[in-house]
Symmetry: C2
Subunit: 419 residues, 2 copies
Amino acid sequence: MPLAVVNCGEIVTVAGPARPRIRDEMKNLSIVRGGAMLVREGRIESIGPQMELKAHIADEYEIVDAGGRTVLPGFVDAHTHPVFAGTRADEYEMRAGGATYEQIAKEGGGIRSTVRKTRAASEEDLFETALGRSQWFLRVGTTTIEAKSGYGLTLESELRILRVICRLGAENRLRIVPTFLGAHEVPDEYRGRTGDYIDLVVREMLPAVASAGLAEYCDVFCEPGIFNGEAALRILGAARELGLGIRMHADQLSRSGAAEIAALAGAATADHLEQIDARGIEALAHAGVQPVLLPASVYTLGSKRFAPAREMIDAGLAVVLATDFNPGSSPTPSMPFVLSLASTQTRMTPAEALTAATINAAYSLGRGSEIGSLEPGKQADFVIHDCRDYREIPYFVGLEPAYETYLGGRLVYSRHDRP
Amino acid sequence: MPLAVVNCGEIVTVAGPARPRIRDEMKNLSIVRGGAMLVREGRIESIGPQMELKAHIADEYEIVDAGGRTVLPGFVDAHTHPVFAGTRADEYEMRAGGATYEQIAKEGGGIRSTVRKTRAASEEDLFETALGRSQWFLRVGTTTIEAKSGYGLTLESELRILRVICRLGAENRLRIVPTFLGAHEVPDEYRGRTGDYIDLVVREMLPAVASAGLAEYCDVFCEPGIFNGEAALRILGAARELGLGIRMHADQLSRSGAAEIAALAGAATADHLEQIDARGIEALAHAGVQPVLLPASVYTLGSKRFAPAREMIDAGLAVVLATDFNPGSSPTPSMPFVLSLASTQTRMTPAEALTAATINAAYSLGRGSEIGSLEPGKQADFVIHDCRDYREIPYFVGLEPAYETYLGGRLVYSRHDRP
């Protein structure tokens, strides 16, 4: 049944040129006030002032009354690690008590503790936990997530995680873009034999992942002492030959030149970049790599050093914002919170942040023509937020603003409080 | 009908000595695992392991099944400004674009813009807006708020705001402690005549507020250039004579010695304190003034300078955390977000933060024997949070963790998502 979404106080379409938005384009949200939107077969048919569209709303349409609320494209969260067992609330407490992330990692905590728990979990348990968490994304207005493996670090467990990710996508509640991140950390059994582990990733994991069609992208955690630039180039080169796209964790903990490696590798994105400098920014700009900024991990780790968002926008980079949802450094699934961080801590305006969280994120995942904005022909992935002004979404931080979330024109989340 | 809350994964009682908690006491949450709680006539009858209480759950009890979730006392938010017209999302955007709070205030923005809108609003409109926002507090697990006036700054409009605050309390959904904050700012019509405005506050507003019984506390925004120490002492002294308790905005924007003024005035609390030094901390400790820390306003203003929470705890202060909910510097009603800020930005552990947000906050409002912990005889103000470990409440930041919120044993909020 086709849908007519009526009485929208504002529809923030984020419509614009068919490419990632840069510089002042990031401020232009193409807002329709007093609008309506028609949806047919899961796609947007038309958007415009309600007065103009009224004549086209025939009896066949199911009416969705937005009640004067704000309608946005669903957030596209382009960097998450959503499949893991357990939490790391204990380490969170230790950090609050003064321990550093590095100290905790040295004592067997950090990623390795999640790897132990995740390896020990059954595929069914991993799926049930991840399915529960997928509801959190809908609750905050996210309709697409990029989802990385990387807490298995064996052939079998990485494939298991990727199967869970693909099964989540098959539920059709949240769109999922799967990414293979076998090179997330060197597992304990390969300590001191990083080269052997890279061989495993390149010779066994990557071909198995690719032949099973379990991932669209390959990511590497590029950091000196873990996977250096050479290792990253080898893994990403192999991934590219197998037809996978490329993403990269770069310049997070140190300025190692990982941004330049991402540029050299032809990556779609370089993610984190808290330590990047002007040369690194230039390299990304030159190669057309999109930076994916993850301010919630900076916040969670209690660091003050956010990635230089303004310098990147000024340099013409098509900036993306994402949650980095993971149990260690960023246990938040909330894009509204990330928008708040971007505005209060990195001086991105709410409009720039919203562009980074929707259309630019969609392009970074190769889906710019399908999702990320509300335009005729695109997927009807939209959210009715319980506010009258999209700026209230970062402003009233700490709330879940979504009132109803739609994926391909189908209601996948609806908030009904009592009494 | 009496209630039996059963199948609680953990009940975080925060039980302990009948006074504000200091130093290591702040870490001791007195958690009952596998617990149950009996409630009769709005008060807690008993709490203990379910195995022990089982025999006492007679047929007359209505069963509330917590499903293994975590039960906490409702948060007590001891510093909010919840009655105002409009938002300041436009100024939020300007600040993200680089303007400072001070620049915006100079151009007629800031508190004064909210004062203009609030003066122009009808009592009914103010009430409806505030009632809608009161739901936000319940959604995040808050059951009591201290609520300040201060966006009217005329006799008539301050009384109107306080009537709205008291009406909110009479709805019996959220407990409200009303505070008169006529000395929030010098209104435009008194520019350059601060003395005359103080006269108005002392001679007309305070007696009218007290005789109408519209406030329990009086607060002053003590800051050089606005209300200095002398002005604060005069206003607070007059309030005390009228039987009101005393709170004070102190040492927020500059280190002016306001903490010492609060100590001298015998204030229950000194709030903000981002600029306090060791001498100020000593003065508070000596006088038994509780510091109310408001990290969300530091966050929102993009400042890095949080109040020195650890030094205060070490000095034996009974620290309180609150949201400072207001349209300018802290548009968040979320105590879970404040707990997250406390843990990630000021190195309070989740346990210390929870104590500061419940029992210590209750004592700061003169209600330590009634609310703030789950102990026999106290009000049954409790929240079933959708987690298995209270530490997940700050950890999974950006979500609304409350599943069901109870005030005096009565369900006042329940989350039911669809589909």
